[in-house]
Symmetry: C4
Subunit: 201 residues, 4 copies
């Protein structure tokens, strides 16, 4: 099986997830900047965070399948499994934003991020299993520091979120900080992969 | 006519259906795990079920058209007919979840599943009619046990759902069990088709 | 310019329009068949009608661009113009359904149908202008009876709708009948075009 | 990396943004033309404006990547950055329409338009940087009068919007006029680019 249609379908799902979050942004009742900040400020900021995350997944997905030739039934389902966790982003993002970064919703958001990351790792390993050890991305990834560090930082974020609360806003800050940190790690271009992609052409 | 654009359009519709169900998930009012479970637990579980169903249809659709060369006007409409029943999934899923698996909504959900399955069978037969008896998938399917068993299990599920109610939760459980069973049958990879696809390349 | 990306974009827009109408379907409050019929029956029926219309447009659009090689800036805008009127279908469909087929909303729905049809004619003529007189579809269409009859039937429907009201339900019936009639005319396969498409390969 | 998937993803996001704005259009409560005008008139007009803007971006994006061969990681992110600002259109359009063109929402809408325009300029410059000085579009754009005039007109519109209010409806009119003017400038076909595209084939 070729990857064309899997890529097209994933593109469509990711495009929809990234966009429908806007539908969840409630327009402020009043018409001044204070209302925009008060009613929608946090929603907009968390929207940015989830937008960046989905952008990262799209980028990585793009690279991963660019270097992949064959897909098996297992890869199709591993891909759908990843899309499932990503499809929950609008839900968990909204809950976290509407709760004013309350303890449980922020923890749930972090767990969602972690599960999507693990789903991505699973997808990658299924592809490597199907393609054999000479997969171009495998050698490009090398030690895959990013891939190993991210779950740890997510876990730290989840632990801080689980510790947060009205009287412990510092823990909320650290939790969000951890989630932002992972995003920054991934937005910084990955020269290894870019080189591998360039070489593969 | 080539199948490219039909596949692209179906991908987009399926991607949207699979994703907009998330928009129907109402975020809990309160911010604790009990609220998440109470307000959204059932919605999330039924979302998973419908997500898996749509994933199965996408997979099968993918295989079906991968092995198909020509499409006629009849195939185009049989495809739209299938997409129509699938497009009702968000509606019937939501009604069933919001009703707490009440008798009528669960029955209607089952009928929706059954009608989509029949629409798929119709689409398949229209393609076989257009392509002639040597269609690669036709030989691959052989007796097509899955395709014959599914409607029966759906029907059983519908009958249990129609029998269910406040005082007969066992029937609800059997109905949902039947719907889950069909999903499991299909998620298990179909080696016949994978082989046919591999041979066709 | 090639037509690939114009087709992909139009597919996506049409797929979204055809699917988001489901989001407008409000799930019944109660959980019996009477509630389903009373709360959602009309919405479901009008959804079917608009779904079929959008399916027809997708089919025709598919054929039209299948036989088209070059697109100019004018064609791009004529295409967006068509998509604009089609994008209003969810809005006018919902208003008509929620109003219980009241006079003004039904008339507005008919006008929307008519404007989309005229936008399609405009798009077609822009393509013929860009491609020259030997456009394969031009000869295939011949007298284009369907294309000429449809606006007349739409217009009749609009006139009946404008005449309808609480005390003139027969006019409502005739209006809806006219709109259904156009859909039927188009769903019936068009052998001329299918032949032209087949010959063009 | 090839541009195919970037184009497909952008198409999908743009198609969704352009279409979901319809979901924000609230259907009038009553069923007469006065209600349609009163409840939805302004929403419909602002929808047209944003629809045209998104159509322009899609057109320009289409041309830009048609003439582009290579994409780097930087281009991917510059593209996502553009899509981010465009994805806020439904939100800012709705706020402006619901506020009856109040001062702050209209200003925010203008700022959103300006930021999207700057994101487009940034994307273009990243592509030129990646492709080298002989990029076909670069020579086609020449002085790029449109690209230089637009931000100025946007800025004027923002200034007028910031000056507008209950007692200064003329400023609102001038602000909207400026936003409409930019749209008109871009809808008028750009013969330079069309020629470059034609030559590049």
């Amino acid at each position: 099986m070729q990857t064309t249609r899997l890529e097209a379908f994933s593109d469509a799902v990711l495009a929809i997830i990234i966009t429908i979050m806007v539908l969840e942004l409630h327009v402020p009742e009043r018409h001044d900047l204070a209302a925009l900040w008060h009613d929608s400020g946090l929603s907009l900021l968390t929207y940015v965070l989830s937008f960046v995350y989905l952008g990262i997944y799209w980028n990585n997905h793009h690279h991963l399948f660019h270097l992949t030739e064959r897909v098996t039934g297992g890869v199709l389902w591993a891909n759908l499994h990843l899309l499932f966790w990503l499809s929950l982003y609008p839900f968990t993002t909204l809950w976290m934003a509407e709760s004013d970064l309350a303890r449980v919703p922020t923890t749930v958001y972090g767990i969602n991020l972690l599960l999507a990351a693990l789903a991505y790792v699973l997808l990658q390993s299924r592809i490597f299993a199907a393609e054999g050890p000479e997969h171009a991305l495998r050698t490009a990834l090398g030690n895959d520091v990013k891939g190993k560090v991210s779950p740890v930082v997510y876990l730290l974020g989840i632990l801080f979120a689980a510790r947060s609360g009205e009287e412990a806003r510092w823990a909320t800050a650290l939790a969000i900080g951890a989630f932002v940190l992972v995003a920054i790690i991934w937005v910084i271009p990955d020269r290894r992969i870019e080189r591998a992609v360039r070489d593969a052409i």
